[in-house]
């Protein structure tokens, strides 16, 4: 009743504004906004070549709850497992990655990783990308923790095609080619880590910032016609979330470069500038990341067409995000993941699923990243 009264009141006020004439433009725009229905694309399955699910920061599944987003991800990925890849975009184990065996936290860390690997249906390929929490939450044990995670993923896979890339604490890039898709994986925490990042057993193909940038420049130049290049890492190149200096009282501090994990810190800026410079001559279609616990689709600028933030993989960790001028879509305080369908021939469709959904379902937004 109260809601009806409010709606009647709003309608009356809007009508009065229109009658006065001076603010007709606002009335029209607000009416358009209120009745805005996004057209959600659902292409036929036989036209899809490869399906990619992007879920980040999923390392805090609640053992007392079942449901979204991991269970929903499993259900959607099970439809066509032979053409499906699930990418976990880092922070796979909160809060401090995999500890040394025998530590009190070891069993809980294993449980967190196991829940995600269990969410990968048989036949579906699983890719884990390292995040800052996987590097022992940015501590000196980080390099060893990420190696332990790689080994634990291999042990838990039990015949599934699941792996952590880049592995062995190396920065990457590592490319995965599937049909038209080239997925380039990076370990961005390697750039930001303040402690040991290589030792005698590292054997990384690129082990300095300059060589990593050069290798990335080479990898985004995928051979062949009609290739779709997506770069996957944990840290975003742009975000309207807490790591971008928005949201909460710590925003002003973060804006002045308070922590390496935040966009405006000098180390983070160096990393982002290097990555963007590698994209300059061959801009990839999208750079996909997690880190901020939100779902954002952003306009990337001249060096990359889209920046996607899909870090809402843990329902208990969702956060605020602001809509920026570059934002195509933002949702905050909702768990979820994204899906990218690479169509046969031409076309790349992005879909955003958020939980809890609305009466229309969990699919909240679609966009053709590459037109059909």
């Amino acid at each position: 009743m109260i809601w009806l009264a409010i709606r009647k009141n709003i309608a009356f006020r809007r009508a009065r504004l229109v009658a006065r004439g001076g603010f007709a433009v606002v009335a029209i725009a607000s009416a358009v906004g209120c009745q805005h229905h996004v057209k959600l694309e659902e292409p036929p399955g036989d036209q899809i070549e490869t399906t990619l699910f992007l879920i980040g920061d999923a390392g805090e599944p609640d053992p007392r709850q079942v449901g979204a987003p991991l269970d929903s991800l499993t259900a959607l990925a099970s439809v066509a497992p032979e053409r499906t890849i699930i990418v976990f975009l880092g922070d796979n184990v909160y809060p401090g990655g995999i500890p040394a065996e025998g530590a009190a936290e070891w069993a809980d860390a294993r449980r967190r990783l196991e829940e995600q690997i269990r969410a990968i249906p048989p036949g579906v390929r699983g890719i884990f990308v390292p995040g800052n929490h996987d590097w022992a939450n940015e501590t000196a044990f980080g390099l060893y923790s990420i190696r332990l995670q790689e080994r634990m993923i291999a042990a838990l896979a039990q015949g599934k095609n699941v792996r952590l890339i880049p592995g062995n604490g190396c920065p990457g890039p590592v490319s995965v080619d599937v049909g038209r898709l080239r997925l380039v994986a990076l370990d961005t925490q390697w750039w930001l880590h303040s402690f040991i990042v290589r030792d005698s057993s590292s054997h990384c193909a690129a082990s300095t910032m300059a060589t990593v940038t050069a290798a990335l420049r080479s990898e985004v130049r995928a051979p062949g016609e009609g290739r779709v290049v997506l770069v996957a890492a944990h840290h975003p190149l742009m975000t309207g979330g807490a790591h971008g200096g928005y949201c909460g009282v710590s925003g002003p501090y973060r804006r002045f470069g308070g922590a390496s994990q935040d966009i405006l810190s000098s180390g983070n800026r160096t990393m982002r500038d290097s990555i963007r410079s590698a994209f300059k001559s061959n801009p990839p279609l999208a750079y996909v990341a997690g880190h901020d616990h939100t779902l954002q689709v952003l306009r990337g600028g001249p060096n990359v067409k889209y920046i996607i933030v899909s870090g809402a993989g843990s329902a208990g960790k969702t956060e605020c995000a602001v809509r920026m001028r570059e934002s195509y879509y933002v949702t905050q305080h909702r768990a979820g993941f994204m899906r990218v369908d690479i169509m046969k021939g031409k076309g790349v469709l992005l879909r955003v699923y958020r939980y809890p959904g609305t009466k229309h379902g969990a699919l909240a937004y679609t966009r053709w990243l590459e037109p059909r």
Binding site: V26, H36, M238, C247, G251, R255, V322, R323, M324, Q332
Partner: protein
């Protein structure tokens, strides 16, 4: 003495100040300054950009990677004032949004007395510089009541400097103002923003003739549309009242455009 002053003087002593800010804003001004009377044809606050041009919301957030240039066109009208004429002003400005947040702008414009009988002294130029700082930019807050999860609330601060030469015979106007603007933007594609801009303005002497220096409080409010058709285009409708004397109500439109790469 204006009719508003008479109305205020009729209040019992000690209760002259209206109890609520909203009443102060929407009703006739009731804050009387005993030692200052607005006898000048145009007060300094009305003549510089802070009072001549309509208020605007805090800038829409943008990428921390980029700093953007923008252009701005503003038209304002001040009515119901104690002076002999209504005031019409038009201004244009250039803005620089630094790393997605704070904005720094320069403004130039012209204010004209409407129905002016004089043949030589019916208008003056106006100039201003302004910094607007987004301090906290966050989630829906009050917009959560209507269930808009894409809403953004911005709280900030601003400081402005204004100058208008020869607003009256031999009198220049110089002002410094500070404010604490708040804005709430809602909806996903075309953004509807509502804002309020409380502040204070100091008129400081900058003429060869001795002119009174004084402080006034002001409040602006309004609504607008962000990303209207183009990602960088905003249109805002604002109104403002200077809580002092009978300076009337100023209202107007601002159109701003940010150049995105």
């Amino acid at each position: 003495m204006s009719s508003n002053r008479v109305a205020c003087d009729a209040w019992p002593r000690g209760t002259r100040a209206c109890p609520l800010l909203v009443m102060l804003t929407l009703a006739a001004p009731c804050v009387a300054h005993a030692q200052i009377t607005v006898q000048l044809p145009i007060a300094a606050e009305e003549a510089t950009p802070v009072g001549a041009l309509p208020p605007m919301p805090l800038p829409m957030p943008a990428s921390r990677d980029q700093s953007y240039w923008g252009l701005r066109l503003q038209v304002g009208q001040r009515n119901e004032r104690s002076g002999p004429e209504d005031l019409f002003a038009i201004g244009a400005g250039i803005d620089y949004q630094l790393r997605g947040g704070s904005i720094f702008g320069l403004t130039g414009g012209y204010q004209k007395r409407q129905n002016c009988q004089s043949t030589t002294d019916c208008g003056h130029a106006l100039f201003g510089a302004r910094g607007r700082f987004n301090v906290f930019t966050g989630g829906p807050t009050v917009a959560a009541i209507i269930g808009d999860e894409s809403a953004t609330t911005t709280i900030g601060t601003e400081i402005g400097f204004g100058y208008a030469p020869s607003i009256n015979a031999g009198v220049n106007a110089c002002t410094i103002d500070v404010g604490l603007p708040l804005s709430v933007a809602m909806l996903q594609t075309v953004r509807v923003v509502t804002f309020v801009t409380p502040g204070a303005v100091w008129s400081v002497g900058c003429s060869s003739e001795e002119t009174p220096s004084y402080r006034s409080f002001l409040i602006g409010f309004g609504f607008g549309i962000q990303q209207l058709g183009f990602r960088g285009l905003d249109v805002n409708f604002g109104a403002q009242r200077i809580l002092r004397g009978a300076t009337g109500l100023q209202f107007g439109v601002s159109v701003s455009w940010v150049r995105l790469p």
